[in-house]
Amino acid sequence: MKIVVCVKQVPDTETRVRIGPDGRSIVDTDVNWIVSPYDEFAIEEALRIRDAKGGEVVLVTAGPERAQSALRTGLAMGADSAVHVKDAALDATDTAGTARILAGAVRTLAPFDLVLCGQQGVGGDNSQIPGLLAELLDLPQVTVAVKIDVGDGRALVEREIEGGRETWETNLPAMISAQKGLNEPRYASLKGIMSAKKKPIRVVDAAALGLDPAALAPKVRVTALELPPPRAAVQMIEGDPENQARELIRLLHEEAKVI
């Protein structure tokens, strides 16, 4: 099986967000960059399927120079090769443009059996790339997967929904997006880290993928980015536990009026 995994490099979830001087982006100079956690589930699942059925795992990312370290992380986990799309157009584009770029890169890897993504890129939090990519690549999609069983030409997938799970059946090739709970991603071994340095990363730009720059113009633009409004100071409830409990319930009912 040939499995393509789309990965995104994102700020560590522990990052304290500061707004940049342009008022539209975050200060990213002291950010610790990681592979988006949901993409790690996708990489892990791809490796498990490959190890069970044979084949190869190819990583694809779109991002600046630093994004290469996200690919190295995935290669160190055990992926076989990677494609890095690096293009100035990426700075200004949106999810639609990013999906076009990724779709262009994934097409160069055809034929493949499966395309995996994280169900959400941490930070942008759009949850759009899997669906956009599936449509652009004309693939069936199953998103937010917590269980994947790959069979002959099809896969059974469990998907998380509000208050339960859906079972899906899909033809292959398909696009499946990974949710937390799908697996426990492995840590790269020292041997993995060493061998990752020798694994091939193909670097391409949008033109090499045959993409028209006009098609990458953003449809949605961030015009301002702000920190959330500060919250009111805390009112501490004193007394013994019995009185604290009663007083809290009273305040929630009489003052906050929420119960």
Binding site: P11, T13, V144, G181, A224, P241
Partner: protein
């Protein structure tokens, strides 16, 4: 007439609440624009939901009722919505940011060429164009977004947009639609979670537990208070990663971002990625032994104390409160 189009979810002719919130939001925009509100409903009995949608503001309902559309399939449902988009050319398309909406909206955006902003918490019109506000970094920051073209498509976070007062006298014109129902991936079954459990993202009240509970065997204290308050149960990443509870309960970055009217954090210190996911709650209660716990910085009410002393007493007080109110 160019207007506002919404996607609605229904089960057995009963629209789901987030879909009604979306129709109500669409109505408010359409009133300013002098436009109509159309809604797409898919599934047998879809038209039966038209009346309720109308009462919240829909002027027209496009119902796709083929038996093959009874269970959700992204491709055929996206085709249905895209067909209506091609027919009525809406300026604005609104989806609920629910499990189904989250799956479907991007596919429709790619089919129709619409720009999509996900998980919006505020919509406004500026010179007749849509301006939205949406959280990024799980709520550590809020972005204002604008669209460069049309259709302007947004998915709306459940539980944030007001329903308003329904007008039972309002009626919607129902149009039945037909679409190719072929799909290469489809739902073959649904397993519901335990009965009576309140879903986190739609809950008005959430009671969450963290490491302060010391072990999974004590998590019933959280469940007890949640039950007494009619609340959903949440958890911090620490206890999810430790395997105490299912990750579906995780609040924060890499879990769910929630905005209930009341969030009760028990034994949760308030790691930055947890605060990101819940600090837009209207009221926050923090119960913690550590006076320096960051959770107190976002809380409205704080109790410095032991969750083992407080939770049983709070549960009893909450039960007494609801009994007194019910009497």
């Amino acid at each position: 007439m160019p207007g506002v189009l919404t996607f609605g979810e229904q089960r057995a002719g009963k629209p789901r609440r987030p879909s009604l919130e979306v129709v109500a939001a669409a109505r408010r925009l359409a009133d300013v624009l002098g436009a109509t509100v159309s809604s797409v409903l898919v599934g047998p009995d879809a038209a039966a939901a038209a009346g309720e949608l109308a009462s919240f503001g829909a002027d027209r309902v496009h119902a796709f009722e083929a038996p093959a559309l009874a269970t959700y399939a992204t491709e055929s449902w996206a085709r249905a919505v895209a067909q209506v988009v091609a027919e009525i050319k809406p300026r604005i398309i609104l989806f609920p940011f629910t499990a189904t909406g989250k799956d479907l909206a991007p596919r429709v955006a790619a089919k129709t060429g619409a720009g999509l902003a996900s998980d919006c918490v505020e919509l406004q019109l500026k010179d007749g164009r849509l301006v939205a506000r949406r959280p990024m970094y799980a709520g550590k920051a809020y972005a204002t977004v604008e669209w460069t073209g049309e259709p302007q498509m947004a998915s709306l976070r459940p539980n944030v947009f007001p329903l308003g007062t329904p007008d039972p006298a309002r009626r919607a014109e129902v149009r039945k639609g037909v679409v190719d129902t072929a799909a290469r991936a489809r739902v073959t079954g649904v397993t519901a979670a335990e009965r009576g459990k309140v879903e986190l993202s739609e809950a008005q009240i959430i009671v969450s537990g963290g490491r302060g509970l010391k072990g999974p065997e004590h998590f019933h204290l959280i469940e007890g208070l949640a039950e007494a308050l009619g609340a959903a149960v949440g958890a911090s990443r620490a206890v999810v990663d430790a395997g105490w509870v299912d990750h579906q309960l995780q609040v924060g970055q890499t879990g769910k971002t929630v905005s209930p009217t009341l969030y009760v954090a028990c034994g949760i210190s308030g790691a930055i990625q947890h605060l990101a996911g819940m600090s837009s709650s209207k009221y926050i209660v923090a119960i913690n032994k550590d006076p320096d716990a960051p959770i107190f910085k976002v809380a409205n009410y704080g109790i410095l104390g032991d969750v083992f002393d407080l939770l049983p007493r709070l549960t009893a007080a909450a039960k007494a409160h609801s009994t007194a109110r019910g009497a």
